[in-house]
Point group: D2
Amino acid sequence: MNINFLTEQLRQFARERDWERYHTPKNLAMAMSVEMAELVEHFQWLTPDESVAVQDDPAKLTAVGEEMADIVLYLVRMADVMGVDLEQAALRKIGLNAIKYPPFPQQAKA
Amino acid sequence: MNINFLTEQLRQFARERDWERYHTPKNLAMAMSVEMAELVEHFQWLTPDESVAVQDDPAKLTAVGEEMADIVLYLVRMADVMGVDLEQAALRKIGLNAIKYPPFPQQAKA
Amino acid sequence: MNINFLTEQLRQFARERDWERYHTPKNLAMAMSVEMAELVEHFQWLTPDESVAVQDDPAKLTAVGEEMADIVLYLVRMADVMGVDLEQAALRKIGLNAIKYPPFPQQAKA
Amino acid sequence: MNINFLTEQLRQFARERDWERYHTPKNLAMAMSVEMAELVEHFQWLTPDESVAVQDDPAKLTAVGEEMADIVLYLVRMADVMGVDLEQAALRKIGLNAIKYPPFPQQAKA
């Protein structure tokens, strides 16, 4: 994913609408959490199996992908505003998770 | 951001812990929303200016980056499980947003 | 607040729509979190002062009250489904909070 | 539920800790959403049936009740700060929901 391109697009988007003053980390976190809930909403009444089956329904999958995209865009914007390197943070977190949640012994041996 | 690499790492991570059965879209959306709230928590009592100043505090910025990373990882995992192309979805959403929120006339002229 | 009356109304509401099967604690928690985000949405781009001023705008205050009501209704429904006494839990939590966050010394003296 | 008593307790709690300045509607909505996620967290990896069974585990039920209580307390505090009558709003919303979601015909006939 070309984060630099997305970052530049979102910078320009905010600038052209005079939205930069709204884009404090506090506001971006709030707005991202609202988008997150729009993603959750698609699944709230579904059984686990029904939630798996969403991927077989092109219209629903597109709608879900759009909500995921909203989160991506806010993450990229917030990372830009705060000076966070999302990829480095993600790679670092995978390492931290591997320490926090060791694999099962039998799998570690395999 | 190398989504393919992150995807492969997260696949292996889930497989080695026998967590694949938990990773339904419904559960992943819920878990991602919990991580989102951990990001929000950093900003809940801050003034807008204080939220901007978080980036000048290396320890806090690392903590915030870690919460953002958790969201990235769940997005990547959920996109893998559901067959969503995150980058395509993000680019498409930028286009949709540009239609939904036209820039101010004077900026459009510029 | 007459919790018993609200509880009975919501029971009947679910029964008449054959929604009881959807009302697992997991689903109710998800749905409540979506309503919560609709409340958050009203405030996401406001300054702290603007958020205070919402109460002076009758139309906005009604809308905000409606989102708060949605959360109340899901809390009452979830408490009924799980057998939680909301008032006892709230009173108990005030006590726990008083221990967790002692008041400032000068205030304790006053 | 004695909302007036809870309201008074929470007013005093905020006053004694000099927290009133933090209790803008914006901040209270954010903080409530964080508590909401702590409730969701209990259920994120559970199957629907496992989420139903939580009520048979006294320790887990107490923990869940505590998260629900946190939400109740923030709702009561926010309603006080904004001048919202939670019970009136809840009753009004039940009426609105009955219009929005009519019961099934056969049930309406019953």
